[in-house]
């Protein structure tokens, strides 16, 4: 498989009045062409920050302090502003959680979907119109030509998210980032959007990064998963291996703590709360909440250990003697 994205030892820190918040602290992963990667984590795990870094879209107080991001042969961290603009929206499309605040309320839907094509000078205005119309139809907007004249407020939440997907895909990007794309939507609409993303993936063959806090959402869509906690990768592997054969205590605890509609089980809560990343726990960041804590966990952050083919876990339990 051909490599599309490679991130090495990424560290993203936020400079706050209270101190330095280590949002992503030493993250490395690869994404291949045509692959769907799920990044799963709770709030503050660094899942969104890690992908916003790919687009260099961090807020003003956030800085990439070290590491490298190579996308399609380009060193993202050394691109000029112009080169970055070329990348955004054209090679990499992104869909955010809240479609209302991602769309401009005073510009028609048609204009907004055409904009990336025109901005990147990819085609004429009339062709952009045709392509926008076709794309809106493809993402399931009925009567696209009529609705192109309307404004975001005239669309429901689910329809707006479809528009966002059309917008993100209009330039045929190599990578689609979907950052919690269904979190603000109802469950039947969520199912529609995930189906749509799958269909678009089949249609265009791009790579996808799906960011979510909901493990169950990844089962039928993602090839591979990264489980993040407090700015670190805890475990990574093929989706089936992670869900049915989890190795990291955090992944296991998370699976035990979440009710599932198909399974009746006793819930086992994870004690404590997510740590403050200005002063994160020493060693493994999960150790204060972990059921298997050993002495070394408090002292040293674990590297990734081999579990199985393509399955790694950042946990001292898997250190070979």
């Amino acid at each position: 498989m051909e490599l599309l994205l490679s991130i090495e030892d990424l560290r993203v820190y936020f400079y706050r009045p209270e101190g330095v918040l280590k949002a992503v602290d030493g993250l490395s992963y690869r994404l291949y062409k045509g692959e769907v990667l799920g990044i799963v984590g709770e709030s503050g795990s660094g899942k969104s920050v890690s992908v916003l870094s790919i687009l260099r879209l961090l807020p003003a107080n956030g800085r990439i302090v070290s590491g490298s991001i190579i996308f399609d042969g380009k060193d993202i961290l050394n691109l000029s502003r112009e080169e970055l603009r070329d990348l955004r929206g054209k090679d990499i499309g992104i869909v955010f959680q809240d479609p209302m605040s991602s769309l401009n309320p005073v510009i028609t839907i048609g204009q907004q979907v055409m904009e990336p094509l025109l901005w990147h000078n990819l085609c004429s205005r009339s062709e952009a119109y045709e392509r926008a119309k076709e794309m809106l139809g493809l993402v399931g907007i009925p009567l696209p030509e009529e609705r192109m004249k309307e404004y975001p407020f005239q669309f429901s939440g689910g329809m707006r998210q479809r528009v966002m997907i059309a917008l993100a895909l209009i330039c045929r990007p190599k990578l689609l980032i979907a950052d919690e794309p269904t979190t603000s939507l109802d469950v039947t609409i969520q199912a529609q959007i995930i189906r749509l993303l799958k269909r678009m993936k089949e249609e265009f063959g791009m790579s996808v990064i799906l960011i979510t806090h909901n493990l169950a959402l990844t089962t039928n869509f993602c090839d591979r998963l990264i489980i993040m906690y407090a700015g670190n990768m805890m475990e990574t592997g093929r989706t089936k291996d992670i869900l049915y054969n989890p190795s990291h205590p955090y992944t296991k605890s998370l699976l035990d703590a979440v009710p599932d509609i198909e399974v009746d089980k006793e819930l086992i809560p994870i004690p404590g709360t997510i740590p403050n990343l200005i002063d994160p726990p020493s060693g493994c960041r999960f150790h204060p909440r972990c059921p298997n804590t050993m002495d070394i966990c408090k002292e040293e952050a674990p590297p990734l250990f081999d579990i199985d083919t393509d399955h790694y876990s950042a946990c001292w339990l898997y250190r070979r003697a």
Binding site: E42, S43, S156, G158, M159, D186, V187, T188, I189, Q190, A191, Q192, I194, R195, H213, N214, L215, A216, L217, T219, N220, L243, S253, L254, L255, A257, V258, P259, D260, I261, E262, V263, D264, L267, I268, P269, I270, P271, T273, I274, R289
Partner: protein, 317 residues
């Protein structure tokens, strides 16, 4: 007394004016909640589930129907007559931050209730606060701290402490987990379960998360566009869903088991200002027939304790 009904809701109706139009928020909703049990109220946003909760608590007044609390009709009684009932019912909201006064210490927030209902001496109130905090898993030494000093999960625990302070029997939990992190949600679920067991609490549990509702409820009512479309014991509803909406709703929920939904629900809920003729679900229903566009189906008992509002299901019998 397991089968005693604590809350009975009969043909509840509420319309909200919007401009010249009326939003049909709640339309003919009926169900019972047995003492010590949990009724899960599910449905998508805008289906009227939170309005139902506010009506039961008489935070807003209904336009029709009856609310019977422990055998007494409280639908139209005066605010004064309602006060003793207010003491017996409480609510825990979705967002703990906005339901705790940021300028009061958590101790004062909880104590306020005893003052309102003239209960106990100063020392007693102080003691109760400590016991309550302890009970919900908050160190009582923090009773003089302010809400912002706690995490989201702890704030929700404080809201729960407040809700049980007056030994209320009935608690509405309106999406109490939605603002919390996944790893913290299970802690709150556990706490709610323990309190129910120990104190014999009755819950109306409102959520859009069907997996959570399934975990916590004894019976479940499914709402769509202001109406209850199906209502049954939990096992029956999940094992044998009959209404086409319930069927698609359940199959839309992602599962770690990885089952793929066999039916995709097309379209979106219609506008409650101008609900469709006939069955509210007919524009999206995969199995609709002529009558569905003309007549509103009534909620019928199709087998013992299993109620469905669907022409097709009724005809099949």
């Amino acid at each position: 007394m397991k089968d005693r009904i604590l809350i009975s809701v009969r043909n509840l109706r509420k319309y909200f004016p919007r401009g010249k139009a009326l939003v049909h928020a709640v339309e003919d909703v009926s169900f019972n909640i047995r003492k010590g049990e949990t009724l899960g109220l599910v449905g998508e946003s805008g289906c009227g589930k939170s309005t139902v909760a506010r009506l039961i608590l008489r935070l807003i007044n209904p336009d029709g129907g009856n609310i019977i609390f422990d055998g007494i009709d409280i639908t139209n009684i005066s605010e004064k007559a309602l006060k003793p009932f207010r003491r017996r019912m409480q609510i825990v909201f979705q967002d703990p931050v906005s339901s705790l006064n940021p300028q009061m210490t958590v101790g004062t927030i909880i104590k306020e209730q005893f003052a309102i209902h003239n209960m106990g001496s100063k020392q007693e109130r102080e003691k109760w606060v400590e016991e309550l905090l302890e009970r919900v898993g908050i160190d009582p030494n923090f009773k003089d701290a302010y809400p912002h000093e706690f995490s989201g999960g702890q704030q929700q625990r404080i809201c729960i402490a407040r809700a049980i302070a007056l030994k209320s029997e009935f608690i509405v939990c309106d999406e109490p987990l939605s603002a919390l992190d996944v790893s913290v949600q299970a802690q709150i679920i556990k706490l709610l379960e323990e309190l129910q067991r120990e104190l014999g609490l009755t819950y109306l549990f409102i959520s859009h998360d069907l997996a959570v509702v399934k975990h916590l409820s004894n019976s479940i009512a499914v709402m769509y566009l202001g109406k209850v479309v199906e209502y049954a014991e939990k096992e029956e509803l999940f094992g044998n869903p009959l209404h086409p909406y319930t069927i698609t709703l359940l199959s839309s929920v992602p599962s770690l088991k990885g089952k793929e939904a066999d039916v995709e629900l097309k379209g979106e809920p219609p506008n409650p200002i101008n609900p469709p003729e006939g069955c509210p679900f007919n524009p999206r229903c995969p199995s609709k027939v002529d009558i569905c566009e003309r007549e509103i189906p009534t909620l019928e008992e199709v087998s013992k304790g299993h109620f469905v509002a669907c022409h097709i299901v009724s005809d099949r019998r």
